[in-house]
């Protein structure tokens, strides 16, 4: 596949995802905007997967590309991505735990 057609395949996915994003979020009530922001925040932690891919590529012994500087930057990237993922989901879970509906008592 040529470079250009790869680009357009990816671009199509990108454009469709924009619409899915708007569509899914537009239904969320204000009550949940803080947990929503923190959950979407956790989802962009998917950059961790990017960091993993790059680290694997860098430390592939077949290519002998690694330098101490590059290795350090990838570890930092993985650590930052993990903070984003773990912190994001944990904090969202903590918030959502607290949302309770009034029990149908008091009649």
């Amino acid at each position: 596949m040529s470079e250009l057609s790869i680009f357009f395949t990816l671009l199509t996915v990108f454009v469709l995802a924009i619409f899915v994003g708007f569509e899914v979020i537009s239904k969320v009530p204000t009550t949940l905007h803080t947990p929503l922001m923190s959950a979407t925040n956790a989802i962009h932690g998917i950059v961790l997967v990017g960091a993993i891919i790059v680290t694997v590529k860098l430390l592939d012994p077949g290519h002998a590309l690694a330098t101490p500087l590059l290795t350090t930057i990838t570890i930092v990237a993985v650590a930052l991505g993990t903070i984003n993922v773990v912190g994001g989901f944990a904090v969202t879970e903590r918030m959502l735990q607290m949302f309770k509906k009034r029990e149908p008592a008091k009649k």
Partner: protein
């Protein structure tokens, strides 16, 4: 072949789980399930990335993951609910930093390969430059947002003459370097890339500095969408659909939330970003009037009687309540009143607290059932039928100047119509003006009485006074 198919299917599963997760986040009853679905999607995505790697670099990944998990989990479990906005800002900054770091590694890797005679394709070249810039701006901006909200630096806008001009120059320099890096495809020295990323960090700092504390939630939401976008572009760089989709979902939702918040404050985004809101304006009006003096203060016992014999009381909580940790006491007071047959409602302004929906989280923490919380549009017609509006630590969102003083900096912002209630009781520490630094004529309204003191102490004494009746 089988492995390939399994991996692609796992990626699709992760995407489906992200979208379903966001879908289930739209109702308080299913939100927790939604969050867990998304987390499961993330786990699958990580496993799918590790599976085909033959164990290369796992030690480095392990080091990063252990550090990241320790830091992320510790801060997530320790953070107070009042500090949630700045926590989200920091996590967001981490994501932006990770995107910039991934691109930097890609760049340096490719630079080494280039000298070995392997040319780089245009797609990788362009996308890594863009994602590095956006990621760096987002990371640095998030840190400043954190510092401002955590009050480690002043929440007031920091401005100087020619600020926008300087920012413009920095942005131009970044664009110039980016174009150079992109066009020359790595023939340029490494420092060009380094300076470009460094300037992007500087721009991130300078772009958040002039924005006041009250506008910080909008900025966090915007930076959230920046990071989403940076991650999506990293997806182009790595040709990885999963990153493109997840990043774009966040970019789109962050943009949408930013717009919604702008609407809630009736301020176009441009004004939030470049208006240096709260730097002047309101303060001048106050100074000219010699401050607000004509306010009436009441005793706890008077307020207790008013509340206990009311038909309907609407509590208007603000960030001041959360700072005083008064939300549990407020809930207890509401329980006491309900026992006496008073209807208690909570009026939540869309930007109450320091983030949209922040107040809902804080009240949920105090076990207030979410079906007792009313949005602005639902509750505003209710004030006319309300005996007492109890304003606890809220200020700007009740300011009638937003309705009728065209010169007020918050003119046009939709507010809670507390002044339509028969009586207004304002619990306030002092006459200091609100987060946005604007005087509130509500306090001089003859219907309004002030109960000065720490919000928690005041509410606690109200509880015992109501009990004693």
């Amino acid at each position: 072949m089988t492995a390939f198919i399994l991996l692609r299917l796992a990626e699709i599963a992760a995407i489906v789980l992200f979208i379903l997760g966001l879908h289930f986040l739209s109702s308080p009853a299913t939100a927790r399930f939604g969050n867990r679905l998304a987390a499961a999607g993330m786990l699958i995505a990580i496993i799918a990335a590790l599976a085909p790697s033959h164990g290369y670099g796992w030690w480095a990944i392990l080091v990063g993951v252990v550090i990241g998990t320790a830091v992320g989990l510790y801060s997530a479990l320790k953070v107070k609910m009042t500090a949630m906005p700045q926590m989200v800002a920091l996590f967001n900054g981490a994501g932006g930093g990770a995107a910039a770091a991934v691109s930097t590694v890609q760049y340096l890797l490719w630079e080494r390969a280039h000298y070995a005679g392997v040319p780089l394709d245009v797609l990788t070249d362009v996308s890594l430059v863009i994602s590095a810039i956006i990621g760096a701006v987002s990371a640095a901006g998030s840190v400043i947002a954190f510092l401002k909200l955590q009050e480690l630096m002043t929440g007031r806008p920091i401005t100087y003459r020619g600020q926008q001009f300087v920012n413009g120059i920095v942005a131009l320099a970044i664009a110039g370097l980016a174009a150079w890096v992109m066009i020359t495809l790595g023939v340029q020295p490494t420092w060009a890339y380094g300076v470009m990323v460094a300037l992007a960090l500087v721009l991130g700092v300078m772009f958040v500095l002039p924005i006041g504390g009250a506008d910080m939630p909008v900025v966090i939401s915007l930076l959230n969408s920046f990071t989403g976008l940076a991650v999506a572009i990293t997806g182009f760089e790595l040709r990885y659909n999963l990153l493109i989709i997840a990043g774009t979902l966040v970019g789109a939702s962050g943009t949408m939330l930013t717009v919604l918040m702008g609407k809630a404050m009736n301020r176009p985004l441009r004004n939030v970003l470049f208006g240096a809101f709260g730097a002047s304006g309101g303060m001048d009006v106050a100074a000219a009037k010699g401050g607000q003096q004509n306010v009436r203060s009441v005793t706890v016992d008077d307020v207790a009687v008013m509340l206990a014999f009311a038909q309907q009381v609407i509590v208007v909580p603000g960030y001041g309540m959360a700072v005083a940790q008064a939300q549990h006491s407020v809930r207890e007071l509401a329980d006491q009143l309900e026992k006496r047959g008073v209807t208690v409602k909570y009026a939540i302004h869309p930007v109450a607290g320091r983030m949209p929906g922040h107040m809902n989280v804080l009240l949920a923490e105090a076990n207030v059932p979410y079906n007792q919380l009313y949005d602005m549009d639902d509750v505003n017609p209710e004030f006319a039928r309300t005996d007492v509006a109890l304003v606890i630590g809220a200020n700007d969102v009740t300011n009638p100047a937003a309705r009728n003083v065209a010169s007020s900096p918050i003119y046009g912002m939709p507010i809670l119509d507390v002044d339509k209630a028969a009586n207004v009781i304002v619990l306030k520490r002092s006459m200091r003006s609100g987060f946005a630094g604007i005087e509130n004529p509500l306090y001089e309204d003859p219907k309004t009485a002030m109960l000065f003191g720490d919000a928690k102490a005041s509410v606690d004494s109200l509880i015992s006074a109501v009990k004693a009746l």
